[in-house]
Subunit: 158 residues, 6 copies
């Protein structure tokens, strides 16, 4: 079974040495969702028009959150990012909000943590803005659906 | 249907005025989980002994993350915190890691966002430390299970 | 002529001791403007509808900026804030965008720096979002128009 | 009329993709001023000698502020900076303090936001240190006077 | 032998619950030194006059560093601070620079970590500004010399 | 005698222009120690097993601290880091804990400040976790023992 790269031979946490890795174009896409009551989702839809743009605020929080990834995740390398995009879509079937973040870099490590952090912070912000109306919301199914660039090759969730 | 408190009458986002709210003892408990392959969970368990303490690193990241809540969530009030506790428990039935955060304050607003942020950052850190072994992990079921103190009274998830 | 309170008798910078000051309700209002070409302002107005909400992004940046005041201004005390509100209004006479920030606290020092920082960060964000269209914009007339609470009494700009 | 690059076709804010832009040497110069009463300016000049170095503190705050640009401005790319310089000059004609910031990078995007942020934070710090003596100060005329490097070529304010 | 308060009964790190502690006036004083070659110290003294104010820059960095304590030290509570003062004194006997930080709060926990962090960041900044001239400097003897307020009473180093 | 590079000809602090420096692989190693009573060191050793992992928490804090270097040290350039490693070793002869940090980058400036900051934050964290048991601890002998890469060549402490 594989050893964990974030620990050395003595089991001590360290920031992995990436100095021998190539600087290549890399991309990662992560998704997630906030599940809520149908009435709460109606508030979100209403907000797009007049009452307050919940999804716009959450999108911005997610973009800014991506830039804080290395501050939050102890062993993450600080990274330049060449692009961060978030899509937040109301979904009646959940009911709730689907979140999708795409992050690109030209660097020595992948950006899946940045994409996952963007989704997480956007989801937390959706919760924050709606919590006065609905305390039972769930943040769920946060995962990586695409990772490309770098030595380990393309990963695509099935 | 209730209006959203984070927007004013024109639908503009603002940080809600809490100056008239009472300073009281408040507590919030949030939970969540990282679902992974059984083999990956075995790596986590092994780490508790010798190969590297995944759960210890994630616990610390979650505590530090709680302190960054108002930096991350746009309309959150900056708050003192009198206590932050995280429990991370391997669970063979998921299989994966269960996360539970308890945050206390003596202040004018609740701390459910701090508890949710602690769980989210701990979960992201678990993902980060195990992603070389398993890219298909999911962060899931993040929600508030208890909130008490303040005018709106006790909320307990059923 | 008054000495400057941020320096001691030897002229050395320090964070002023406020431990003897009363905890009272305090408020500050600051204003400012971004002056631009009439064509640029037309882009802003268009954005409120469909092309992208420049003022909404800047409002949020200003609120988040208020929370970073003590990080940015060396001798500012870290402060709780009980409310932050920003108004951004297109003004054809400038032409440009008028910005107004209101910050409240219950604490030992005033919040005029928080209000000024909110206006400044909102103005910088307006510039950032429009700079591809207009490099000649000016951020101007940032000042305190109201300060109340605390020992020094009410200040209102004439 | 040009669309705004910070919004996509649906009008949603995003961090623009710069991965195809060239890594080149770039420079930006921004200026601004803090206008104050003549008596207040006399305090600043006195401080250069013995009573406390207002301009030295503000210069340092501006340099540190430049490093926080991507934290403050939502859609700004995080950037390395190869040089940050600030000049603060007392000016009897205003009366007040003239501020000028020069920022250099070798990267994929320009640094005018970093230069504008440096000027803004330096100006806010000047205000903070003098506000006990003069509440009527104004921060004014913040703008880009030079931008060079990158595809869009040299911009110089007239 | 006493158990460590930062760990629970299972040995897991947590942020200690201080919600039952009294809000009292508290003060802490920490000291430390940067030892250097006599020639390097001469550069520092020269700088007070004309060549650049090493001690002024380090004093400011120490004050700002105190405000980042809870961001840096994992289990530290975020705290208001009512006063931060730093003294940096050239000392020919070391030879080097003596640093002394005094921090006050009115809160539920002590501020010795804030005072120690202020000394550490000031010392690092002295090193940074002089390292082109002297790589052999040492940061040394950082310790608490006074702590007062709170239940555990007055501590004074002998 | 050499002028200080962090000040210009007028003695004004600035962030040195490194745009002409080569991008090369660079490494720095810094060390330091926390001296404590023998009984306190016994608590640390006990913690490795069951009572709480003081050294593990401090190691993580040091790694995260290295990433905050440019935020803390006013004239430090923000830098990517390709690797950060910390070793914390109990030493009965002190008695206390020896700390050693190794930082690597591929960039235009050295990383000795990052290594020194990692050691300092790890030492402060050791102090924080043990201070309930021993207030007389000292953080001491923080210095650079190796610096390599870049124009100034290899420096090794004797």
């Amino acid at each position: 079974m594989a050893d964990l790269t974030h620990f050395d031979a003595q089991g001590q946490a360290h920031m992995v040495d990436v100095s021998a890795k190539h600087v290549t174009a890399r991309v990662a896409v992560a998704v997630g969702a906030v599940v809520m009551q149908a009435d709460t989702l109606a508030l979100v839809r209403g907000g797009n028009a007049k009452k307050g743009d919940v999804l716009g605020v959450a999108r911005l929080a997610g973009i800014m959150g991506a830039k804080r990834t290395a501050d939050l995740i102890p062993l993450c390398h600080p990274l330049p990012m060449s692009s961060v995009t978030l899509d937040l879509t109301p979904d009646d079937d959940l009911p709730g909000v689907q979140i999708r973040a795409t992050v690109k870099t030209t660097g020595q490590t992948g950006v899946e943590m940045e994409a996952l952090t963007a989704v997480s912070v956007a989801a937390l912000t959706v919760y924050d803005m709606l919590k006065a109306a609905d305390k039972s919301m769930q943040i769920t199914d946060i995962r990586v659906v695409l990772k490309d660039g770098g030595k380990s090759g393309r990963y695509e969730a099935t």
